[in-house]
């Protein structure tokens, strides 16, 4: 279990964590389709190990496959929507079918797209990427989780989709293990399964519910593929209400994974609550306002969960 103390930025930024991997392993290259926001410091440092192909997402994936055929591990960057949707068939064909270790880092996924509007809202990215055989999916809870997991997912032989998220870490996270979830809080009344940017709100909601006398288990899923089915099954067996929280469409995401896991394991949750976007995009605004209007702040999450218990 994690210790519930603030991490105080005691972890590297994404750019620094990636730079360390490039320095340590000559196979690793940094590639972007003219999306440099999270790697701004790297171009002058990396020379030809930094490759910017311009606004050409399909070409980036194809070149990434070619680089991987030559033994490289290309870490490719674009906004999550443009990275997943525009070149989806290239990802499927050129990384998925041959199982090449291309790493796809999607910026501002889910609610992190703020006020950009529906064109920029990657809400079906998890469903689409986990549908590709061989593809791994890593959805870090915050900046520390990202830094902890990055060496593991970049080092794996599989193609991997990474939902970039550098929100400040509200806890000190446990060491990362590929395909394993992190149990952050232990409890029995409510089991919360969460991934990605809403981890912070889910943690605070769990604390609010605990203050109301509820016992809450909180699981940071970390990876949705391979998924930690044991952690899901344990939550279902242990908790009266199982809640999934995700900034994604309900179809194909964590709630679907819960249902699939229950069927596969032959367990049935007593009650469930799916907190996700259901057949609609969210209202564009700055992140705090998005969380407010969509009922995703910690107090609103706690209210919704308490209502489901009633």
């Amino acid at each position: 279990m994690s210790t519930a103390t603030p991490a105080a930025q005691a972890y590297p930024t994404y750019a620094d964590a990636l730079h360390a991997l490039v320095e340590a392993d000559e196979r690793v290259l940094v590639v972007t389709a003219e999306n440099r926001g999270n790697i701004r410091k790297l171009p002058p440092i990396l020379g030809d190990r930094f490759l910017d192909v311009g606004i050409c997402e399909q070409t980036m994936i194809g070149m990434g496959a070619g680089l991987a055929l030559r033994g490289r591990v290309p870490v490719m960057h674009a906004l999550a929507t443009f990275l997943v949707f525009r070149p989806y068939e290239f990802i499927r064909d050129d990384l998925g079918i041959p199982c090449l270790p291309g790493k796809l880092v999607g910026a501002v996924p889910g609610v992190l797209s703020d006020a950009n509007g529906p064109t920029h809202q990657a809400l079906e990215d998890v469903a689409l990427m986990r549908g590709i055989p061989n593809m791994h999916v890593f959805c870090p809870a915050d900046g520390e989780d990202l830094a902890l997991g990055l060496p593991h997912v970049v080092g794996s032989p599989n193609p991997t989709y990474i939902r970039h998220n550098e929100r400040p870490a509200p806890v000190r996270h446990a060491p990362f293990e590929l395909g394993r979830a992190e149990v952050v809080l232990e409890g029995e009344d409510i089991g919360i399964l969460v991934y990605g940017a809403l981890f912070t709100e889910a943690l605070e909601a769990a604390r609010l519910l605990a203050a109301q006398g509820r016992s809450v288990r909180l699981v940071n899923m970390r990876m949705l593929k391979p998924v930690d089915a044991d952690a899901i099954e344990a939550t279902v067996r242990r908790c009266g209400l199982v809640v999934t929280i995700e900034d994604a469409f309900k179809v194909g995401g964590l709630h679907t994974i819960l249902a699939e896991t229950c069927l596969a394991r032959g367990v049935l949750p007593r009650r469930t609550l799916a907190i996700a976007f259901d057949e609609r995009w969210f209202t564009p605004a700055l992140l705090p306002a998005v969380l407010e209007v969509e009922g995703l702040t910690a107090p609103r999450l706690a209210e919704r969960i308490a209502a489901a218990l009633a």
Binding site: L51, G54, Q58, T59, G62, L67, R70, P98
Partner: protein, 287 residues
Amino acid sequence: MTATAPAATDRAALALKVREHIVRMSTDGGCFLGASLSCADLIVHLYTSVLRLAPGRLADPDRDYCLLSKGHDVPALYGTLAELGYLDPARLANHLKPTDSIYWHPNRKVPGVEFHSGSLGHLLSVSAGIAYDQRMRQSPGRVFVIVGDGELDEGSMWEGLLVASAKRLDNLVVIVDRNAFQANVRTEMLIPLEPLEDKFRAFGCAPVRCDGHDFAALDRAFATLPLEAGKPTVVIADTVRGRGLPSIEARADRWFCNFTHDEVGALLKELHGEARATVQSETLIVR
């Protein structure tokens, strides 16, 4: 051209054997016959006279690469690989059988096949990635990618050319099998491509055009690579769909063919200059 380029007559003889393999694959399920016959001479030329590659060199990081972006022409590659010792010729009899990996599109489990394809517009960028790494490693290796002319409809081809020329990948050679047909119609009747050389030049490439069935012309086109320092080379090879079988040459309806065994027998004779075959099997239009 390598120092060991065989005489044009030897390449023509090899291409005839490759065409026999292609025709033999056009039954019991069939194959994309027309597109395979149009690039058979090109592929034979590349493997015998251009590529720094041999069956024993596939693990050499400094070798050349050859990729088929218009993957449905793979029977021409299967036949060439079998004739040149990359692939056991007996395996060609496994065409379309679930026990092997020899089917309508390339699979890199087949020795000599670099990468799978089938969806058009992919392997130009894959080739550019290989070329970028070769240059990073200061390798003398080059990448040759065979694309269809119909495939040039795909935006990803032009996007890939923009990037390849921006990155000055002059170790990349794009070969257009200009057989003038898309799947079902002539290119110029649907999405006109000409003037192609001007288009490639405008995208930062160095183009050259030649007769894709004339080995002497191919020798000249590939004599000096890159054509211009700092630019990808594009060889536009004018070809004929169905080349070698006058009974089906340049016909829109003979792209994918599934003939009877008797028809294949007649077509094999036609390949060798005997009377035109009469083929009545139903035309199959795929795509």
